[in-house]
Each structure stands twice: as C-alpha cells, then as structure tokens.
C-alpha cells in the first residue's frame, strides 16, 4: 500500500493506494500518528484507490480517528466504493465517520 499525504488548508489529505491488510495497516497508523503529533488533527482519508481492507485495517481507521478526536480533530472519509465501501457499510462504520464524495467537499466542511 502506498500512502500520500498532502496539506490542504486546515486539513491533510491522506491518500491510500493499494491493499490494506494485516501487514500494511501498521503503516497507516504510523503515518497518522506522525501527522497528529505534528499538529495535523484534521485528516481527510481518500480511499478512492484503496482496493481492499480487512478487519485489521478497519481497526486502524478506528484507532486513527480516536487519536485525531482526542486532539480536537477528526478523521473524514472520502471516495468509498467497491469492496471497501461494502465493508464499511456491513460494519456500519460508514455512520461512525463523516463521509464525503470528494476530498474537496471533505476539506470545505472543516474550512
């Protein structure tokens, strides 16, 4: 999995590319922990190009969102589709995270 982080005003867009599984979820947690420790507490996670996620990956989303929330921020999701969307729907995590169609819409919501 590749992780690309880009500053976008008050937020940081974290784009996930590839597959998040029992190996790669740790990279996502480490990247977000680093961003939050640097003061970036609004994280817009773009999963448009995330092809796969398992329960360990879902756990990382929850852990990262809790981490951001504890620092007064939030984790916002955008680009849900395919299997990743289905998994978020099955677990009703789709109602736990603020969900947006695009990174622009997510960034505007916290501007």
């Amino acid at each position: 999995m590749t992780i690309e982080s880009t500053k976008a005003g008050k937020a940081v867009v974290v784009k996930l590319i590839g597959r998040m599984d029992a190996d790669t979820n740790k990279e996502f947690e480490a990247a977000v922990a680093q961003l939050v420790s640097e003061g970036s507490v609004y994280l817009v996670v773009d999963v448009t190009e995330l092809l796969y996620i398992n329960s360990a990956g879902l756990g990382s989303f929850l852990r990262n969102a809790k981490r951001a929330q504890e620092k007064g921020g939030a984790l916002l999701l955008c680009g849900l589709k395919g299997l990743v969307k289905e998994v978020f729907e099955m677990t009703r995590l789709i109602s736990v995270f603020p969900v947006f169609e695009s990174t622009d819409a997510a960034c505007q919501s916290i501007a």
Binding site: A22, L51, S55, Q69, L83, E86, M90, T91, V96
Partner: protein
C-alpha cells in the same frame, strides 16, 4: 477434511497466509468469480486463517493448518479450514454492537462478523482433536 476437497497443509504461521489465500483465490478464478467476489473471498480467508494462526496453538506447541476447497459449480466454492489446536468455535462469539459511536467502539471484533456477513453458509464442527470451519461462497446471479 472432506474427501472431495483439494487440500493444502502448511504451518500455522503468518508466513503461510499468502499461500493459503492464493490457493483458494486461484480456485475461485477457475470457478469464474468476478473481481468483487474474489476480494470478498480474500477477506474471508484472511480473517479465518489469521484467527487460527493467532488462537489455535500455544507458542510452545506449533501446529499446522489444512485448507481445502471444492468447486461446487460456476460461482460456487466450498472451503474448509482445519486445525488440531485447542477447541475453539469462532462463530459462538457475541456479535459486535454496531450502534456504538466512535468513542465507544472497540478496535477489534469485526473479523468473524464480516466472515458471517459474506459467506452464504458457515458452520463449525469439532471432530476428534480437530476444529473444522466450513464455509461456502456463492456469486450472486
């Protein structure tokens, strides 16, 4: 393991996960599973096998996992995952509370729930010293 299943036996270690997943994934391709269903199968396999790797055997007594499959027809695949570890029925666990908000949501506990959601049927059986989990995935017409 049922006689008609094509089988693969490997140590119950995380290093075996990719091989088990690929073994069943290739069978599903042969059974004409579309891309979305292949992803669902990968997810089910990963959750079930990781569960066995983590819980079946104590560190002092490593063991094996046996995965078998049978193609039941186009878009229909039965899979068995067997181990000789401690008796453990993963299906007996209480379902997670999906109504909880972020602050109250526990981090884990979603793996077997997802497996139950995706599999067309699933059952657990303790046969002698073996745990046998059997599930069927079927492509929606």
């Amino acid at each position: 393991m049922a006689n008609n299943f094509i089988q693969l036996k490997l140590p119950a270690k995380i290093e075996s996960l990719r091989e088990f997943t690929a073994f069943v994934h290739n069978a599903a391709q042969e059974a004409a599973f579309p891309e979305m269903d292949l992803g669902r199968l990968d997810l089910v396999m990963e959750e079930v096998v990781v569960n066995v790797i983590n819980y079946a055997y104590p560190d002092s007594q490593p063991g094996n996992i046996e995965v078998g499959y049978a193609i039941e027809g186009p878009g229909k695949l039965s899979v068995q995952v067997c181990d000789s570890g401690r008796a453990f029925d993963p299906l007996a666990k209480d379902p997670p509370d999906l109504r909880l908000g972020l602050a109250d949501r526990p981090i884990g506990g979603l793996g077997i729930f997802l497996v139950k959601q995706i599999a067309r049927s699933i059952s657990y059986n303790r046969d002698g010293d073996q745990n046998i989990l059997t599930f069927c995935l079927e492509v929606e017409p």
